[in-house]
Symmetry: C2
Subunit: 158 residues, 2 copies
C-alpha cells in the first residue's frame, strides 16, 4: 500500500519517481507535462506537508515562471485531474499522490502539530459507499476522508 512518511527515506527518490510517473501518465493520455506543470508537481512533492496554492507562487516567481494565481491553479487543476496530487479540503492545501493514475477513494491522516500528511489505505471506505448506494439509492462518484490528530513524532514531543 502507501509508503510510511514517518520512516526516513530518500526523499529525492520520492520526487523523481513522482515526476517519472507523471511523465508516463501524460504520455499515455496524450496530454502535456509542461515546465510549469512539472515544476508545480515537484514543489508539491517538496516535502510531505500539504502546500497551499499561494505558497507556490513566490517559489515559481523566483525561478522565473509566471506567477499569478491562475498559473498555479491551472497547474494544480491539471495535476488533480490526473490524480497526481490530491487536495486536502480541511487545509485548502495540496499534496502529492503516490499511486496516481487510477481514480480511487482518498484518505489522509494529517498531524495537527507538524502538518505532515500520510496517505492511508482507503479500502474500508468502499463499504460506506456501497451501503449508501444500496440503502439510499445514491450514486457515489468520489470520496475523500481526512483524519486529524497527532503523528508519532509529535506525540513524543509533547
Amino acid at each position: 500500500m502507501t509508503q510510511n512518511v514517518y520512516k526516513s527515506h530518500d526523499h529525492h527518490a520520492c520526487i523523481d519517481s513522482a515526476v517519472a510517473e507523471a511523465r508516463r501518465l501524460c504520455d499515455e493520455k496524450g496530454v502535456r507535462l509542461t515546465p510549469v506543470r512539472q515544476r508545480v508537481l515537484e514543489l508539491v512533492w517538496d516535502n510531505h506537508k500539504p502546500v497551499g496554492a499561494y505558497d507556490l507562487l513566490p517559489k515559481l516567481a523566483e525561478e522565473g515562471f509566471n506567477s499569478a494565481p491562475p498559473t498555479v491553479y491551472r497547474a494544480l487543476d491539471f495535476l488533480l485531474d490526473l490524480g497526481l496530487v490530491h487536495r486536502i479540503n480541511s487545509l485548502n492545501a495540496f499534496i502529492g499522490c503516490n499511486h496516481p493514475g487510477h481514480s480511487h477513494p482518498t484518505c489522509f491522516f494529517v498531524c495537527r502539530e507538524c502538518g505532515m500528511a500520510q496517505e492511508l489505505d482507503a479500502t474500508p471506505l468502499n463499504e460506506i459507499a456501497r451501503q449508501a448506494e444500496q440503502q439510499l439509492g445514491v450514486r457515489v462518484e468520489q470520496q475523500m476522508t481526512e483524519l486529524m490528530g497527532l503523528c508519532p513524532r509529535c506525540q513524543k514531543a509533547s
Copy 2:
C-alpha cells in the same frame, strides 16, 4: 441511524427538534444559546443543503441582527464546538447535525447536482482510524468523510 433526507418529512419538526436538542445541550454544558446563535442554527437547518457563512449574513441582516462576518463565524464556531453543526470542507459550507452532543466521526454524501447533503453512518471509518493507529502509531482525534455523486432524485432527472 441517521434519517433519510430523500424521504419527505415534516421539516419544521427537524428544525424544532434541532433547536430543542441544542437548548438541552447548552443547559447541560452551562453555555448560552443566545438569539443570534439560535437563529444561525435555525437558518442552517432551513433545508438539507449545506449553507455558506456568507449566505447567512443577509438573512440575519433582514431580521435586524448584526451582520458582519465575525458575527456569523462566531455563531458557527460555537455550534461546531457543540457538535450541533458540521462543516463540509469541500464546499466551505455548514450543515446541521442530527445527533449532536457526542463527538463522532462524520460522514456525508453530497449531491453534485442539487447540493443536498445526507449524513451517513460513519462506523466503518473507525476501522480506518484503528488501522492507522496500530500500523503507523498516529493518534486520531477527528475524522471526516465526504462522498460526492448523484442523489436518487437527480439520477432520475438526468
